[in-house]
């Protein structure tokens, strides 16, 4: 199932569901990178609140999204990583060092507001 992407002002908000397949992750990447140009978006929030696990493929896809959209002029912030998901990611050896994260949607919006105002 494709990840729904909502437009809110200058931001795109993608809400990932629990059963995200590899194909869905790649499609999300392509959709976001395209929509940054289409809607002249300056910020992207990827909401993982509903995602019940993150494996290495999903993590790599999200990092790629953050890097590609940065090159297109938009900041990406990943929000809503659940405690168990964070624990499993650390055990697995996945780091998100180069990806901005925030607790939830509200914090993510605040982060983007501060980022885009500085630019």
């Amino acid at each position: 199932m494709a990840v729904p992407i909502l437009r809110q002002g200058e931001y795109l908000i993608a809400t990932v569901q629990s059963a995200m397949t590899d194909t869905d992750a790649l499609r999300l990447r392509d959709d976001l990178v395209r929509q940054v140009g289409e809607y002249r978006a300056r910020g992207i929030i990827v909401d993982l609140t509903a995602l019940d696990l993150m494996d290495s493929f999903a993590a790599r896809s999200l990092r790629t999204i953050a890097h590609m959209t940065r090159l297109r002029g938009a900041d990406t912030v990943v929000v809503g990583v659940q405690p168990e998901v964070a624990f499993a990611m650390v055990q697995l050896g996945l780091t998100f060092e180069d990806v901005c994260t925030a607790l939830d949607l509200e914090e993510g919006l605040r982060f983007l507001d501060s980022r885009t105002r500085q630019d």
Partner: protein
């Protein structure tokens, strides 16, 4: 706990990876594992199932409740008839990969589980057996 036959999920497409990890989580939860342990099991299944996809193209994941020395564990057996692994020691090192992945699959999954073993024969296939203890 009565030992039921293993739940088998054949792996041939990326949706099967999702099915396998959801089945693993369901069984772990039914067996009384904490949400954290259930997530670790599901994540390990996701990594191993993807290894099957990337290296063998297809295979199978069997998930079951087992009893060992009076303790209960959830056991995941992943089998494929792919090319096999010539150097298992090397494949268990972080960052070593012959496929498109990050090279975290086998070593990463082993860190998520309590027991992890790989049996492989070049040209014949690979079997991964991993277990996580469940609360009594």
């Amino acid at each position: 706990m009565p030992r039921a036959g293993p739940l088998r999920v054949s792996i041939a497409a990326d949706v099967d990876i999702v099915t396998a990890r959801q089945e693993g989580r369901n069984l772990a939860e039914q067996m009384g594992c904490s949400p954290t342990d259930s997530t670790l099991v599901a994540t390990a299944i996701s990594e191993i199932a993807r290894n099957i996809m990337n290296h063998a193209g297809r295979g199978e994941i069997a998930i079951s409740a087992v009893s060992i020395d009076g303790r209960t564990a959830i056991e995941v057996v992943a089998t494929d008839a792919g090319p096999g692994i010539s150097d298992i020691e090397r494949a268990m090192q972080d960052g070593y990969s012959t496929g498109p992945g990050l090279g975290l699959g086998l070593p990463g999954a082993s860190r998520l589980m309590d027991h992890f073993e790989v049996r492989s024969k070049v040209g014949v296939g690979t079997t991964v057996v991993m277990r996580k203890w469940c609360p009594p």
